[in-house]
């Protein structure tokens, strides 16, 4: 009797579709988080990223000074806050300019601006905000991280030697992968898009990013040109910045093949 039952089970198993047979591990669709992606306000960049900056992930926007990282961040902020979402800006360098943000269309009443005194407090504030939940977007502007590069990582990538404010402990935290992994996990749990802006020490020095493999998305901006306009005899007007954007990391199912695009940021 037992042998007959066994045969019957084998018979039924053989009739199952291939994806349900023994030994087959179905691939789980990658979770994009509730709300999916947040539009950056630039359709070209959204297209590059497969819809925008992902919620529940850590993203990085890196580049040397005067390349447009802050402008891109403020455009993203404007897009998120005008969609009635709440956002926070953790500003170690105390460099956030409310007038620029207001001009970019940021709904400032939905923005919580935190100016921690050092990096240690900044990381603590980020964790507190992520644990609170309800914020669609949290920016962590680490302030000047000089481009003087430290020892290379195992993957051969140079790692920035953190020289931002915050003393020895802050510098250690900045360079420690576990700091970023913890923040990435917190962002995932709160379904918040955490965007890190590793500020360059000066326009000459660049920064290759801090979060390493913890970053789900990394955008690298490089300068193309600054556009000045004017007529002879009159002062020149800074018309805008033109930058090239490279998506050097984009984990997720909707990543596109095209990985770079030029962005023009106009100054009205």
């Amino acid at each position: 009797m037992q042998g007959a039952s066994q045969l019957r089970v084998e018979d039924l198993l053989s009739q199952l579709p291939g994806t349900l047979r023994r030994g087959h591990v179905p691939e789980a669709p990658e979770w994009e988080g509730e709300g999916g992606r947040l539009s950056t306000g630039y359709s070209e960049i959204d297209d590059l990223l497969g819809g925008g900056v992902p919620r529940g992930r850590l993203s990085e926007v890196v580049g040397r000074g005067s390349v447009g990282t802050t402008s891109l961040a403020q455009r993203l902020l404007a897009s998120v806050t005008t969609d009635e979402n709440f956002a926070a800006w953790i500003d170690v360098a105390d460099a956030f300019d409310p007038a620029s943000a207001s001009a970019a269309g940021v709904a400032l009443h939905r923005l919580l601006w935190v100016r921690p005194p050092d990096l240690v407090a900044a990381f603590a504030a980020t964790e507190i905000l992520l644990a609170t939940g309800g914020f669609a977007l949290v920016f962590l502007d680490t302030g000047p991280v000089r481009g003087a590069l430290g020892p290379k990582t195992r993957q051969g990538r140079p790692r920035p030697r953190g020289q931002a404010a915050g003393g020895q402990k802050g510098r250690r935290m900045l360079a420690a992968p576990q700091t970023w992994l913890r923040l990435a996990r917190a962002a995932e749990q709160s379904r918040t898009a955490l965007v890190v802006l590793p500020g360059a020490g000066s326009a000459k020095e660049g920064c290759l990013g801090l979060a390493g493999s913890a970053a789900g998305v990394r955008l690298e901006l490089s300068p193309v040109q600054a556009v000045w306009e004017g007529t002879p005899g009159a002062p020149l007007l800074l018309e805008g910045l033109v930058s090239r954007i490279d998506v050097t990391r984009n984990r997720g199912p909707q990543a596109r093949r095209q990985r770079s695009r030029q962005m023009r940021i106009r100054l009205d």
Partner: protein
Amino acid sequence: MSRFACAVVPRFPVSALLRAEPELRGCPLVICRQEGAVANGRSPGPRSILVGVSREAERLGIRTGMTVAQALVRHSDLVLRPRDERAIGAAREALLDIAGSVSPRIESDGNAVYLDIEGLDKIFSSDGGIAAALSTRAERIGLTVGVGTAGSKTTARIAAGLAARTGEAILVAAGKDATWLAPHPLSVLTPVTQAARARAASPRETWPALQESFQRLGLRHLGDLARLPSREVGSRFGKAGTRLWRIAAGKESSPLLPESPPLEFTEGVSLEYSVESLEALLFLMRGLIDRLIHRLAIHGLSCGGLRVGLDLADGGHAERRVGVLAPTADVKALAILTRHAIEAEPPRAAIVGVRAIAIADRPRPTQLDLFRPTGPSPERLATTLVRLAALCGSERVGRPVPPRGHRPEAFTVTSFDPVSEERVRSKGTEPEPEPSRSGRAALRALRPPRRAQVFQEGGNIAYVRASGLGGRAVVSGGPWRIETEWWSERPCRRDYYDVQLSDGGIYRLFRELGGGAASVGDQWFIDGCYD
């Protein structure tokens, strides 16, 4: 028919002190009167009379009324504490808070509180539910209570006194007061008569004299007294005797004299030693804040700020205010804020007493919207704001407000209260901002503006040097003059330039122009970098 509940805190001075200093639990603790104290005015002297004895001390043969010297002869390792009026006051207020959270009609009576529980069965289902609620809430704020319910205040008080000994609530069935009282000895009336004496309703020696007279007549139990004719008891023992007869017969019907729970939430403790270190003081403060938060929570309130009073060893008094960005119930955050407030202005002498007054505030309400994204929960946001303020400073957390005048660097930070803001906006006509269609180059501000050296050639900027940056000017635009606040003591008269340097950076520079009484001469500053 009326129903009353009574909650009694046994050994009140001891319980109040244990609530303030929970680390003394399990110790043979005795409380002394302040009279006879020794030189420093805080430690009890040998002739101080004991007014409170813990259960552990009682097991060692220590009784109230003994002197400290007599008690120490029985057991040398007693923990002696003077009667702490501040802790007792706080415990009394806490008891009222608990009662007020159960019934709107309450009356305080020393170490007991009466509640009118008529009609409360719709909320608590039964007298047992009320008793359980009182006991649980009292435990939460560090008090142990005995609870009794009955048809009269006095019967409830007697039941609560007995319940405090056994640890189980006593619920006297409706209309059965006399039946329940009958088998109990006359001595159960002692707390009732003490309370009456405290209110000066009867002469001071009445109860011991009456008790002796009753015993001479062979009356042992309340039932014996109730069986006597009331008229005869009145003619023989007067008004006090009649009152006792009415209690024994279950006919006592004194009304409740309602009072309001305290509007102010105060916790305090007097120290028998001077505290000089901040850490030790914060340890005490944390306990006070914890108890305040529990009391506020009983009423569904949060803490909207603290007033901290410090009694100093030199006889002075200092007060500190602890502000919070939003009502909170986060003890840790409040303790950190208190630390900042005390550190900012340290007291001039050691501390011998601490008092904390909580400013009660309602937690932020919220109404979820079907058509809007869910924001942070108001309670969690309030706690977050307090914690961030403790971490970064309250002036460094909030909502940015762009400059209203013409000074480009001016800005303000206001409190981040999205719920109120949305409510105001939904009523007003202020339009929602729209994202800029074209990208705008944002400015990264340099605060404060960085002093720069600028070299000019033929009236044009040729080279810029400042701390951390410098280079040849590749392109420059400007000047754009700003003249504002000329009417004030700090007039602003500047020429602004946008300069692209050879290092690739595009900076905003300004030249502070001389002129006016407050002239500083021509100075160059960099106040931002376009990025």
